[in-house]
Point group: C2
Chain length 262, copies 2
DNA sequence: TAGTGGTCTAGACCACTTC
DNA sequence: AAGTGGTCTAGACCACTAA
């Protein structure tokens, strides 16, 4: 026998999934369900909290509890890094991605700060630097309108970027073509990448910054960018609201018995 | 001012992270903290529930609340599909991966059931079949010892696998070399793959099956496997406990202005 | 000011484990 | 039987929003 709050949450969840409660619609107020005999206020509240943790509803004081719209997953494929976009055109990779997915870009959708910091361990390792070496950190918070979608912090070796637009702390993408274009102009053409992904519980700062739903996880992405001679020119850490993104990769099945392959 | 239960949870979390409460160690009993003036039973319980949702502790009736061991992330790279492993040797891809990561494989670490089912929409789409067409589904639950790690369900077109060991409903890997070897022997050598990943809230069935911590998310992996002539020979869906895995991909930066690239 | 969700208490009782 | 975490209640009070 499931607890009472679990049963109540399940029946409400079923009604939401069936469309009986549509996205944006108000759920019954807690006190209404109490009077309807669904349990005490704490019990009904526990059910609502569970629904919130499951991402189905959003509650706020004074307003009430409404069914959340399920924003479609944003699909991220490697095509978002296409050289043609940032080398030949004047788009920034992530803006090109917006265009492809039919979303508008507005000024202010990206904020950034640039600073010289001591490399955290993962950064030092990726760049092959000793612990504590100085690197430039370019931290962005990317939004779509009012909704923050992810943070992205790029780390560069000073000798690669000093004197370039990357180090210019103006908000917005790093000028025409973005960071990859700046590296290209400086003689570092990016060639291949490694991406690592894992999910984790957000810190409370991240939960606020990304406006995460209660209980929502984040996906952390580590991107290492190499030139053709295997020099690491950028190591970036992204933190994404887990419910808003999907990643896609294509690759050949490796065959270590053959000559090389990638 | 954060709520009392949040403050209590934060101080306990800090003590756990600092090592003051070591993995495996018991946290103070709820009633002890009540007597110590940390609040009522409900308040302390709310704090413990938050710690559980954050993956730091595990509670069970009769036992108490203990600090969870943080099992290291299992890293999944494309090398786990190396042809040399399943074609030339007699290993199964995932067992080879265990060896590489120093974990033992025991019989019973994988159970499977095979059945002919109507293709769910995503499966039909991946295989290019009409909705509702029949496909073979091979569902596995993979464990490491007592701990389930993920489910993996492969879908095959009947004409590719009928009469092979894949359709033989014996528990354990599909004979010597596993599913890819069987396809290889049947004349379908796998060549390239597409993997899609996204995170979501588990169903209650999945939470039980994978023994997920309260509030833990899952990562769903969709793998489409192609032969060299782009025939889809396998579409697989994996459901992984989000806290236990990391994925890694290497790729060339695409250049649509060039001849081809992958 | 009225109405919403959120917190907190004190205590009863339940479910499960261990002795 | 004793001790653990989990559920539930009734009610007081707080924090926030809107009119």
């Amino acid at each position: 026998m499931a607890p009472k709050w679990r049963e109540l949450a399940d029946t409400l969840a079923a009604r939401i999934r069936s469309g009986e409660y549509a996205p944006g619609q108000q759920l019954p107020h807690i006190r209404e369900l109490v009077e309807a005999g669904e349990g005490s206020k704490s019990t009904v509240h526990a059910a609502y909290k569970a629904l919130e943790a499951e991402g189905l509803v959003a509650s706020s004081r004074g307003h009430g509890t409404v069914v959340r719209q399920q924003t479609p997953l944003k699909r991220l494929g490697v095509a978002r890094y296409d050289k043609a976009k940032w080398r030949d055109g004047d788009q920034v990779a992530f803006i090109a991605d917006r265009v492809a997915t039919g979303r508008a870009y507005r000024r202010g959708d990206q904020t950034q700060t640039v600073s010289l910091v001591e490399a955290p361990p993962a950064v030092a390792e990726a760049h092959g630097l000793p612990a504590g070496a100085d690197v430039y950190a370019r931290a962005r918070l990317v939004k779509e309108g009012d909704q923050p979608t992810h943070t992205l912090t790029s780390y560069y070796r000073p000798e690669h970027v000093e004197g370039t637009r990357i180090v210019d702390p103006t908000p917005g993408p790093a000028g025409r073509g973005g960071g990859f274009r700046v590296l290209y102009d400086a003689g570092y053409e990016i060639d291949h990448m490694k991406e690592q992904l894992f999910a984790r519980v957000p810190t409370s700062d991240e939960a606020k910054l990304l406006q995460l739903a209660a209980g929502e996880w984040v996906v952390e992405l580590h991107r290492t960018t190499f030139t053709a001679d295997d020099t690491v020119v950028e190591f970036a850490v992204g933190v994404h609201a887990a419910s808003r993104f999907a990643w896609e990769y294509d690759f050949k099945v490796p065959d270590s018995a053959e000559g090389s392959a990638q």
